[in-house]
Symmetry: C2
Subunit: 372 residues, 2 copies
C-alpha cells in the first residue's frame, strides 16, 4: 500500500487537535464521517489516517496524515485535490510538507535540464549566474529589444521578460519575442557574450502552447512560466509535452496559496518541471523570513527521488551593493535576479548591468578564496 | 482609458497605509519604483494608481487601486497576474473585490446556461433543486452506479460525483461515467423522474478535454469542475471551447487562495463560466461567517455586465432537519447539496434521499405560502 505523508500546520486549541486531525484525514480522503464508511476495504486502504501530531506553538500543531497514493489517480490536479482540496476551505489549516513515495515521484516530470543542464545552456558552471528583467510593461517592442541588447552586451547571463509582459497591444508576443531574441543575437555578434533570452509565456493552455511554439521558432533558449498562474496541472502538462528549453518558474500568484512557500516553490514547482525557481529574498521588498528563503533554496536542490535539482533564483529587490551577502547566504550555485535596481537611471543601464556582472564574479572569487 | 478597480484588504499600521497602497499600485503594474519609470505615457496610462483608502479596523484598510485594462492582455491568466500576481507574495494583502469595466466583462464567457438554463435542463423552475453526491471514493464502478440509481429513483434532481472521484484504478473515469449515466436512465425508465448525473472531471488540460468528450458521449447532462484545481485559465478555456452542458463549480483548493471567497467563488467562478457554484454554508463543517455566505450567493446572481446569473449551491454538511432554515436564508433560487447526511445508514439511503426531496418541496411550499 503506497501512501503519501502530508503535514498540515493547524491553528487549534490543544484539546481539539486530535479531532481536527482526524477530520482532515477523512475530509482529504473519503469525505464522510468514519461511521458512514461501511466498506472494510475502504476503511483500511482509502481513508486517510493520522500518524503524528507535534506541538509547534501554544495553539499551533503539525499534523501528519497518510493518504493513499491510489486516490491521487496518477495526475497532478487530482494529487492537489487529495493534498489540499476541501481542507483548503478551513482557514486554520496550512499545507506545509508532502513526502511522496517512490511510485508517485516516478510519475512526476521534474526538471528536464536541472541546475547543471541550465548552466550548460548558459555556458557557466562555476559562479552564480546573473539575471536581469525587461520592464516596465507599456514599453514598445523596439524599446524592450533595445534594453535587452544593452543588458546582453553588458554581460548578463539571462535576460528575462518581466512576468507582467504577456500579449498586450503595446508589445504583442510574437514581434516582442522575435525582436528580443534578435537583440541577444546581435549582442553576441558584437561582444562575443551569448546571453539567454527567456520570454514570459502566460495564458490559457492552448494559447500558451501556441506561444511556446512561437518562442521556439524565434530561437528563445529558455522560458519564464508562472506555475501558479497557469495552474499547476496546466504548467506540468505544458512542460512535459511542449517545452524543449529550460524553464524558469516565477512565483506570481503563488503567494496567494496557503501552501508553505518552501514546499510550493522549492519542492512542487521543481517536481512539476521547473529548472530554476525565482523566489523573494529576505532582504528585498517582500521580506520573507531568512529561514524560509534558505529552506526554499535547499528544497530546490535536495535529493528527491530521481528528480534533478533546480537552480534557486533569489530576487525581489536585490541591491547591487549587497550581492556578496546574498552569495554568502546561498552559496554559488544560484542565479541572482536584479530587476529594478539596474533600471533606476535610464542613461546608465548598461553601466549598472556591467557592475552587476563584475560584482558577482568578484564576490564569487572572494568567496572561493576564503574557502580555499 | 479603460481601468479595472481592484480592492485589496491590507493589514498595516495607519501611518504606513498610504505608502503600502502606492507600493501595491506599482507592484501590480510597472513593477518598478515610480522614480524608475521614465516614460510619461507609461506613468500616465500603465502605472496603477491609488483611488481610495478606507479604514476597516484598527490596523486594517481597504485600498482601491485602478489598473489599466490594457495590461491584462485579454486573457484570464494575465488578468490574474495583474490583479494579484506579485502582491500575493505579501502576506498582509488580500484581494477582496474587482470591478471590471464593460470592455473586459465583454471578453468573459460567463455562464452559458445560467441559473435558469440549468433549471431548464433539470426541468424544475419553482423550488430549490436537490443535489446529492456519490461517495466515498474507493467504491467500485458497480457500487457507485447502484448508489446513483438509488438516489435518482428517490427523486434527487442532480446526482454528482464526489469531487474526489477522478480516474483512479478502483473506478476509472470512462466505465464509471457510462455506468452512472445508465443508472439515471434506468431510474427514469422505472420512476418517470429524470435525474441529471454530473461526473467530476479533474486533470491536466488535455486529459480533461478528453474526459469531457467521454462524458458527452456517455450522455452526461452536466459536469462538476473545480476551477481552482484545474487552474482558472484552464477552467475558463475548457468551458468556452469544450463543454456543451451546464457546469457546476466545486470550491476544492479554492480555499487555499487568499482571495475573499465571495469574490472568488461568487464572482470569478461565475465570470469564467460556472452555471452553478458550490460553497460551504455557515452551519456546516466548514462554518464560514453567515454574512460571507450571503454575499457569495448574492454575487453569484447579481447583475454583472451581460453575464447570466449562476445558481448558488450551499453545501458542506447540510442536515436534513434544518433545510427550512437554509431556504429561508437564501431563498428558493438555490440548489441544496446534501452529501454525507444521506449516506450514514447504508440500508436507508433511498429513504433518506426521498425525505430530502420531500423536505425541500414542503419547506419551499411553506415559504411560498408565508410570503403570499
Amino acid at each position: 500500500m503506497s501512501r503519501v505523508t502530508v503535514t498540515y500546520r493547524v491553528s487549534v486549541r490543544p484539546a481539539d487537535v486530535a479531532a481536527v486531525a482526524e477530520g482532515i484525514a477523512l475530509e482529504q480522503s473519503v469525505e464522510l464521517p468514519a461511521s458512514a464508511v461501511h466498506d472494510a476495504e475502504i476503511k483500511a486502504n482509502i481513508a486517510g489516517r493520522v500518524t503524528g501530531i507535534r506541538q509547534h506553538g501554544e495553539e499551533l500543531f503539525d499534523v501528519d496524515i497518510e493518504l493513499a497514493t491510489a486516490t491521487m489517480g496518477g495526475n497532478v490536479a487530482q494529487t492537489i485535490n487529495m493534498l489540499f482540496g476541501n481542507s483548503s476551505l478551513h482557514a486554520h489549516v496550512e499545507l506545509v510538507d508532502v513526502r511522496f513515495p517512490e511510485d508517485l515521484l516516478a510519475t512526476l516530470t521534474g526538471p528536464r535540464f536541472g541546475a547543471r543542464g541550465f548552466r550548460d545552456v548558459v555556458g557557466v558552471q562555476d559562479r552564480p549566474l546573473t539575471c536581469a528583467a525587461l520592464k516596465p510593461q507599456g514599453m514598445s517592442v523596439e524599446s524592450l529589444a533595445q534594453l535587452c541588447e544593452t543588458l546582453a552586451r553588458a554581460g548578463i547571463d539571462v535576460v528575462k521578460d518581466d512576468h507582467g509582459l504577456a500579449d498586450q497591444t503595446y508589445s504583442p508576443f510574437p514581434p516582442r519575442v522575435q525582436a528580443c531574441q534578435r537583440a541577444v543575437d546581435r549582442a553576441y555578434a558584437a561582444s562575443g557574450h551569448r546571453a539567454i533570452y527567456a520570454p514570459s509565456v502566460v495564458g490559457s493552455p492552448r494559447r500558451v502552447a501556441e506561444q511556446v511554439r512561437i518562442a521556439r521558432d524565434a530561437g528563445a533558449r529558455a522560458l519564464l512560466l508562472a506555475p501558479s498562474l497557469l495552474g499547476l496541472p496546466a504548467f506540468a502538462e505544458l512542460v512535459r509535452d511542449d517545452v524543449e528549453v529550460p524553464v524558469i518558474a516565477h512565483p506570481s500568484f503563488g503567494g496567494a496559496t496557503r501552501i508553505a512557500h518552501p514546499l510550493l516553490m522549492g519542492t512542487l514547482y521543481r517536481a512539476l518541471g521547473a529548472d530554476a525557481v525565482i523566489f523573494p529574498h529576505a532582504s528585498g521588498r517582500f521580506a520573507p523570513p531568512a529561514s524560509e528563503c534558505r529552506e526554499l533554496a535547499v528544497r530546490a536542490c535536495a535529493p528527491l527521488g530521481r528528480l534533478l535539482p533546480a537552480l534557486p533564483v533569489p530576487a525581489g529587490g536585490l541591491q547591487l551593493d549587497s550581492l556578496g551577502e546574498v552569495i554568502a547566504f546561498y552559496g554559488s550555485d544560484v542565479m541572482l535576479l536584479v530587476g529594478g535596481s539596474l533600471l533606476a537611471d535610464a542613461a546608465r543601464v548598461g553601466e549598472r548591468a556591467a557592475r552587476f556582472v563584475t560584482a558577482v564574479v568578484k564576490a564569487s572569487l572572494a568567496r572561493d578564496e576564503a574557502r580555499a
